[in-house]
């Protein structure tokens, strides 16, 4: 039996223009409880604008935006206490330590300070908790800022390019944290232009181009949609044979294997980057 999906937020035919420039064009999608939804697109596609609309920082021109099954215009302040947001510009107080910043946000959110230690432990910042934010590396700052957004254990988390500018190690730590949150059934709305990140973290992705959603599905389904019916056999002498993924192809593969001269066999799977290219005719930046 298919599990019942609870819609946590949605947009229906949302339009937004800044002066003469159309930024969002009939944007329609929904995000279900407990899923990690990736919003993909190059810079300027409208990803941050979408988050701003969903978090009351901007107002739409037309269409419907629903948050917790309520039109966003009728959302209560209490609804926003159930949300955590890490924007592209989120930052902590530089003259305060990581721990003092988290204490401050714990007070603002009305949660016990006992929530801080496990969070610091989770992202490996326990030993650096007394470090002033101004003396932290970019990776430490980003993880600490993410903790400030998580301090009240939100049901819904908006993350705008959470790993932008991080080194690979810090990026992996953030990914591990997001996977933990996903396991704890936190709903995550994530914008990124990193395809690998989207593939490894997201249950579903929406591909945005010029403010218009050109596809929305699981990464696997999107890749399957553009998968080619092609298998490539590389022989020991570097010669290449191409065949199809059907019975006739199976015979050719079997013959090649019997010859004992096969170096490798590849199924031609497209990456999400290829999917984006096919859908929009553009390369990712």
């Amino acid at each position: 039996m298919t599990p019942m999906l609870t819609r946590l937020l949605s947009m229906d035919r949302v339009h937004l223009s800044f002066k003469d420039k159309r930024v969002l064009d009939s944007l329609t999608f929904e995000v279900h409880r407990g899923e990690t939804f990736g919003f993909l697109g190059p810079s300027g596609a409208g990803k941050t604008t979408t988050i701003k609309l969903l978090t009351r920082q901007l107002t739409k021109d037309s269409g419907t935006v629903e948050l917790f099954s309520r039109p966003i215009e009728n959302a209560h302040d209490a609804d926003y206490e159930r949300i955590g947001i890490l924007s592209d510009t989120s930052s902590l107080y530089e003259r305060m330590s990581i721990e003092d910043n988290l204490r401050f946000y714990a007070k603002v959110r009305g949660v016990s300070e006992s929530a801080i230690a496990p969070l610091l432990e989770r992202v490996g910042l326990t030993d650096d908790r007394k470090t002033l934010v101004k003396k932290c590396s970019k990776g430490m700052r980003q993880r600490a800022t993410l903790l400030a957004a998580l301090i009240h254990n939100p049901e819904l988390l908006f993350l705008d390019e959470p790993t932008s500018g991080l080194d690979p190690a810090a990026r992996l730590e953030v990914h591990r944290m997001l996977k933990d949150l996903h396991d704890q059934k936190t709903t995550i709305f994530l914008t990124t232009h990193d395809m690998t990140e989207a593939e490894s973290l997201c249950d579903r992705v929406g591909i945005l181009d010029n403010g218009h959603l050109v596809a929305c599905d699981t990464p696997e389904a999107l890749k399957q949609r553009f998968a080619q019916n092609k298998v490539r056999i590389v022989m020991n002498d570097k010669s290449i044979r191409e065949t199809t993924k059907d019975a006739a192809g199976a015979v050719i593969i079997a013959e090649a294997l019997e010859s004992g001269k096969v170096l490798s066999i590849h199924s031609e799977e497209p990456s999400l980057n290829d999917v984006f290219l096919r859908l929009t005719g553009k390369e990712f930046e």
């Binding site: 107080y93 007070k107 603002v108 957004a149």
Partner: protein, 244 residues
């Protein structure tokens, strides 16, 4: 309501701690005390006894003007601009804190610091201790116009550089009554400035004329400026409170 009070409380504690952490703000907050010490014990150290009352009038009027100018420029104007420039204000708002709550906390901390500095200045000047209660009351209400004006300029300024430009008129306006000694026409202008009412009431307090009809004009000036600045604040807050 509880959530709003909790947030204002957390913001106030954070802002108060920042006074100590930020040397620029701490120095500006202590500057009025330093100036009063300088006036009292260096510049006016050998004032003849017959001129002492006049000196005390000048100092008791000057101290709260100095305090409100320096403290508001730093704890409200500069601090708000810094929060904007470093994106901590936006981060706060995304944590469901309203612009109003941020401003109430800043006003609360500023007024608390102004009153503390005013009280220290009062004892440095060394006037009759029985004047302390009315002195605090006048200093508190007299500071409100500059506090509101600082909020207006804090809303308008986009970054710390522009706050530096806006701080100048705040300090000049606050200190204007100090220069009333430079001539009668100057004194008249100074009397009608935002801190002019407060300065004149302080002088009357020192001279024992506070509870006479002489004080009515100064009271009207003081509360008039509070009303004007409050209206300006409401108008600017409605326009820029969310966007800017």
């Amino acid at each position: 309501m509880n959530a709003a009070l909790r947030k204002i409380g957390a913001l106030s504690i954070k802002d108060a701690k920042d006074l100590v952490r930020n040397p620029a703000i701490a120095v500006c907050a202590l500057m009025p005390i330093g100036f009063m010490l300088l006036y009292r014990y260096v510049m006016f150290a050998n004032v003849p006894s017959e001129a002492e009352a006049e000196m005390n009038s000048f100092l008791i009027g000057t101290a709260p003007c100095f305090a409100v100018g320096m403290i508001c420029a730093m704890t409200i104007l500069y601090a708000l601009s810094e929060e904007k420039e470093k994106h901590t204000l936006r981060t706060l708002m995304l944590a469901n804190v309203s612009a109003g709550q941020v401003m109430i906390a800043k006003v609360f901390v500023s007024l608390a610091v102004i009153v503390i500095v005013d009280v220290v200045c009062f004892f440095v000047i060394g006037v009759d201790a029985s004047l302390l209660a009315p002195y605090i009351a006048i200093a508190f209400f007299g500071s409100l116009s500059i506090v509101l004006l600082s909020l207006v300029l804090g809303l308008v300024s986009r970054d710390m550089v522009s706050s530096g430009v806006y701080a100048l008129p705040i300090i000049v306006l606050a200190l204007l009554p100090m220069f009333s000694m430079f001539g009668e026409s100057f004194e008249t202008i100074a009397s009608y400035s935002p801190c002019g009412g407060m300065y004149d009431l302080m002088v009357m307090l020192q001279e024992g004329r506070l509870f006479t009809s002489d004080a009515l004009v100064a009271l009207a000036v003081m509360f008039g400026w509070i009303a004007v600045c409050a209206i300006a604040f409401v108008l600017v807050f409605k326009k820029l409170g969310k966007d800017n």
